[in-house]
């Protein structure tokens, strides 16, 4: 019992550390929060005029289609922040200091998880406000909308464990750039900005099976926004897959991360 209490206290101390980072670097926080808003404006108004979506009408329909996709994309891009925070601590020796102290070994990941999920909630809130401002609405009631937000955070939680694992494993200075470059095609090769039915067959299949697409499809369905569904099995079962994919990713990367953290041999 005492052990559990210390584990929670240590986790809270490291969550607090991240909140202190926000307070000391507010500009960085604000830029991070506004980046997805910029994507919405860019795709909604620069490119959206030329886009059509199944079940939507015109540019306003595209913006309804766009918001759930951008919400989910923001959750995926959160991986970069997790990765960078973990990697910085490892390369500076801060992780070794934590490991040589009599603190709970879970605290590092508990602190990281709570701080990153808080950041994700704030990001979602900012993006939802931006969406409401440009005419996006949810049409199926508050309960369904809350379920959609829950699925989005579940995706972020899965990305968290991938980010932690990569941060512990990847070495070298160019690593962040490499991760950023890899995250972009993963984000775009999905149903976020265009319907997979408009892509060449094989590419559309890959896009439909992208874990991101399942969360986006489920969010569109729960918000009652256009563009969800499709003929394939995976598109028909978006809500199921929006749970299965993140849980599977967590089941893979959680134990890998724990093993790696316990035994950070170089």
């Amino acid at each position: 019992m005492n052990r559990l209490r210390w584990a929670l206290a240590d986790g809270a101390t490291l969550t607090r550390r991240d909140l202190d980072h926000w307070a000391r670097q507010p500009a960085q926080l604000v830029i991070g929060l506004l980046f997805p808003v910029m994507i919405v404006l860019m795709f909604g108004y620069l490119l959206g005029g030329g886009m059509t979506v199944p079940g939507g009408s015109g540019a306003a329909g595209y913006r309804e289609f766009l918001i759930p996709g951008t919400l989910a994309l923001t959750m995926v891009f959160g991986l970069e922040g997790t990765f960078q925070a973990i990697k910085t601590d490892v390369s500076r020796g801060v992780t070794d200091r934590f490991r040589s102290m009599p603190m709970a070994s879970s605290a590092v990941v508990v602190g990281r998880s709570v701080a990153d999920l808080l950041n994700a909630v704030v990001s979602l809130a900012v993006l939802v406000l931006a969406g409401l401002a440009i005419g996006w609405r949810w049409h199926s009631g508050l309960a369904a909308a809350l379920a959609a937000f829950g699925l989005l955070l579940l995706l972020r939680f899965a990305m968290l464990w991938i980010g932690i694992y990569l941060g512990l494993v990847v070495r070298g200075e160019g690593a962040l750039v490499a991760v950023q470059i890899l995250v972009w095609p993963l984000g775009f090769l999905s149903n976020t900005f265009a319907a997979p039915s408009t892509m060449p067959g094989w590419l559309g299949t890959i896009a439909e099976w992208n874990p991101l697409s399942s969360t986006v499809g489920a969010a569109r369905e729960l918000f009652g926004n256009p563009g969800w569904g499709g003929d394939s099995w995976v598109a028909q079962h978006a809500i199921l897959m929006a749970i299965v994919w993140p849980v599977a990713l967590i089941a893979i990367f959680f134990p890998l991360s724990v093993a790696r953290y316990r035994n950070l041999d170089r």
Partner: protein, 316 residues
Amino acid sequence: MEAVTAHALRRRFGPVEALAGVDLAIPAGSVHGLLGPNGAGKTTLVRILTTLLRATDGTATVAGFDVRRDPDRVRAHIGLVGQHAAVDEILSGRQNLEMFGRLHHLGRARARSRAAELLSEFGLSDTGSRAVSTYSGGMRRRLDLAASLITAPPVLFLDEPTTGLDPRSRGEVWDAVRALVAGGTTVLLTTQYLEEVDRLADQVTVIDHGRVIATGTPSALKGQLGGDRIDVVVSSLASLGAAAALLARITGNTPDTDEDNRRVGVAVSDRMAALTATVRALADEGIAVEDVTLRRPTLDEVFLHLTAPDHEKVTA
């Protein structure tokens, strides 16, 4: 009582044997220098003793606790200063110390007062509220030291604490270490700098390729080179070979020649007799010299001697 012990400690990384059976015994309250070139196994040894890495074989204790069976108790009794300043760059010095204090399970008020004490002890009170990213290398190192001393641990590990620091910052770190030792802390210090162990350490262990190749006090290690040395600087490079042959004949030892400085040096056992014989022989053979000196060897020479392949070794 021994603060740190190691018996036949081994560690393999795949085909590489980083530690090939290391024994160590550090009495409480002393400073022990661990000296060796890059890749000698110094950091591996420190990582095993601080519970960051498991030994492949052998046993080790720190503050009386087995590092493998009782890692939590070991962690409660040690401080570690690694090769990088392991502090949060975004936070201030004070926020760092308060965070580490909380993680050591000091209460909020106690963590705050301990942070203030350490900041003033390490001369960081004025800059305690600034982000660490604005600190100089020496200030970061002092903060790093302070962070490892929050609970005043009885055993402190310093892994190359002055690598990459300018001479002034190095002096600051040395002063801080001396102050700790005066307070009774046991220190294990790894370094590539002989000057550092010469100034700080009571005992030195020299390791190379994962093995202990010498151990003793800094002055005893210097004695292993055969006591004193004679250096001769010749006027003309052409006579360097003749001077070396002469020194070899007189002392029976193999001299080291340094062409850049036109210098030849050799270990001597009977210092005054060797000096007299050398000066006389140089005059007899008509070798013009700029300087002849009789001196104690530097630790650098001891180190080169100990880590050299056997056929190059000077016989003591």
